[in-house]
Amino acid sequence: MALYSDKVMDHFQNPRNVGKIDDADGIGEVGNAKCGDIMRMYIKVKDGIITDCKFNTFGCGSAIATSSMATELIKGKSVEDALKLSNQAVVEALDGLPAHKIHCSVLAEEAVRAAVKDYYDKNGIAYNAEEFQIHDCEHCSE
């Protein structure tokens, strides 16, 4: 299908790290069913390193592919490095996304941040709340 790159199709058809982590150290969920996509990200953290990461996604092909790629990009990284993951990095790793699907990569970035925020909250780690604002689209917050 010409809409998506081979890499997107690969991550959509063979998504990496699908599932849940029952004893996750952080869980982040972003999106809205009304808008058609929700991502839930689970992280397992040991000594400041993300040792495992899984996701559940309700959404289109690119929502599933960006979730999958995001988990690949943060697994084995430090929590601080995971926070630096940008939606652009996810897009590049997938060899691009159609313009109207960039939104999915933003959701993936935010899902990672939401999971880290949950980890910080659960462990009493201080952080700057401003850095963790989730940009809900106008449509979703209606």
Binding site: M1, M9, F12, Q13, P15, V18, G19, K20, E29, A33, K34, C35, G36, D37, I38, M39, R40, F55, N56, T57, F58, G59, C60, G61, S62, A63, I64, H100, C137, H139
Partner: protein
């Protein structure tokens, strides 16, 4: 296995249509407007095609058929014409429904910007407009009622003959977008009191790029395209001779075989409904009682339509969906929303539209693949997880 199940989007060109059109591409390629005998072959072919299309639609005269580039152009011309004519008489109100094709809805939007008033009727949960709603919406200044024959997404058929009789009684022109019905359902513009009707060739095995507008003889038509005097001066541009010939051949073939094809398609459609309804938390969209033979539209809770389509594509099945992600907008299809479906549910829609070329083996393949794919996507869906845990109420 490859299964083409998107016949409401477009169809393959039939052998009959192709054989009919080929000589007009290679041998008799003359311009029907030319004087010499060689071009007269093309003129005759267009004349014959006009008579065939008129007969298939039950028109009183071939002079009531105007060839266009397709259904959208026919819809635009019918509505714009009726609006211009209405304005001359001080009538600037039009009645339609919420779930028309965009060729109708966007034309009405344009008229609204020009100062016309538009009433879009509700189509209720079953996707069928009510005659009493049409009657209640009619005003002194109503210049057109335009209601589709059959809906393109959910396949529900509207009470066209009843609406036609009502409009005739009230003296209001009645147009119907019959793009999804022509060649698939019996149409008789005389008996059904239809004043204007749009059809599109590629929905019944003619090539893309050709359609027709039926316009009753006492109703004036205004041009969308100015130029030469083709189509009795109402639609300029050299005739798409081969396309017109193919459309007439395809329409005749579809009408001739309608009874037999319908039986076959209804059997396949009903099998899809029966099998896919076994998927828990699924829903059939639109009235089953008033339904075209080939269209199946269902929603599956907890999943999103585009990912469903991509998975089906990977399994060789061509289908479509009314999810937001397939349209490039944030909202799911206006048709599904017009039925009162919540956004969450409408995102998980699937349209399978079968044709007479499909086989029961193909239907079996669809019945086998769809439940697996729905299951697979639900297993990775946080929405489904919440639904199953009771953290979110099931809506269907």
């Amino acid at each position: 296995m490859f299964v083409y199940a998107d016949n409401a989007a477009t169809t393959s060109v039939s052998k009959t249509a192709l054989d009919a059109m080929l000589p007009y591409l290679t041998e008799y390629y003359g311009n029907p407007s030319s004087l010499y005998a060689f071009a007269q072959k093309a003129t005759e072919a267009v004349t014959e095609a006009r008579a065939t299309v008129a007969a298939c639609l039950g028109a009183a005269s071939p002079r009531e058929i105007y060839f266009t580039s397709g259904g959208s152009e026919a819809d635009n011309q019918a509505i714009m014409s009726a609006a211009r004519l209405g304005a001359r008489k001080g009538k600037k109100h039009l009645i339609s429904t919420k779930f028309e094709h965009h060729a109708v809805l966007h034309t009405l939007k344009r008229l609204e910007k020009e100062g016309y008033e538009v009433t879009l009727l509700d189509v209720h949960e079953d996707g069928v407009v009510r005659l009493e709603d049409v009657a209640a919406a009619i005003r002194e200044d109503t210049c057109l009622v335009t209601i589709m024959f059959a809906n393109n997404e959910i396949g529900t058929v509207q009470p066209i003959a009843e609406i036609g009789a009502l409009c005739r009684e009230k003296g209001i022109p009645f147009h119907t977008d019959a793009v999804q019905a022509a060649g698939h359902m019996p149409i008789d513009v005389e008996k059904m009191n239809i004043d204007m009707l749009s059809i599109s060739g590629h929905k019944f095995h003619a090539p893309k790029g050709v359609g027709a507008l039926y316009c009753r003889k006492n109703i004036p038509l205004f041009n969308l395209i100015e130029g030469g005097g083709q189509e009795r001066g109402k639609r300029a541009g050299t005739e798409n001779v081969a396309g017109i010939v193919a459309m007439a051949a395809a329409l005749k073939e579809s009408v001739d075989n309608m009874e037999e094809d319908s039986k076959k398609m209804i059997a396949m459609r009903d099998k899809l409904f029966a099998e896919l309804s076994k998927i828990p938390h699924s829903k059939i969209n639109g009235s089953l009682e008033h339904h075209v033979p080939g269209t199946v539209n269902m929603c599956f809770e907890g999943i999103e339509g585009e990912s469903l389509l991509l998975m089906l594509d990977a399994n060789g099945i061509c289908a479509s969906s009314g999810s937001a992600c397939t349209s490039g907008s944030l909202d799911p299809s206006h048709v599904l929303l017009s039925l009162g479906l919540p956004h969450e549910v409408a995102h998980g829609s699937l349209r399978l539209s079968i044709g007479e070329y499909n086989t029961m083996e193909e239907i079996d393949h669809i019945c086998q693949v769809v439940p697996q794919v729905v299951d697979y996507l639900r297993n990775m869906s946080p929405v489904w997880d919440e639904l199953e845990k009771g953290q979110r109420p099931h809506l269907i």
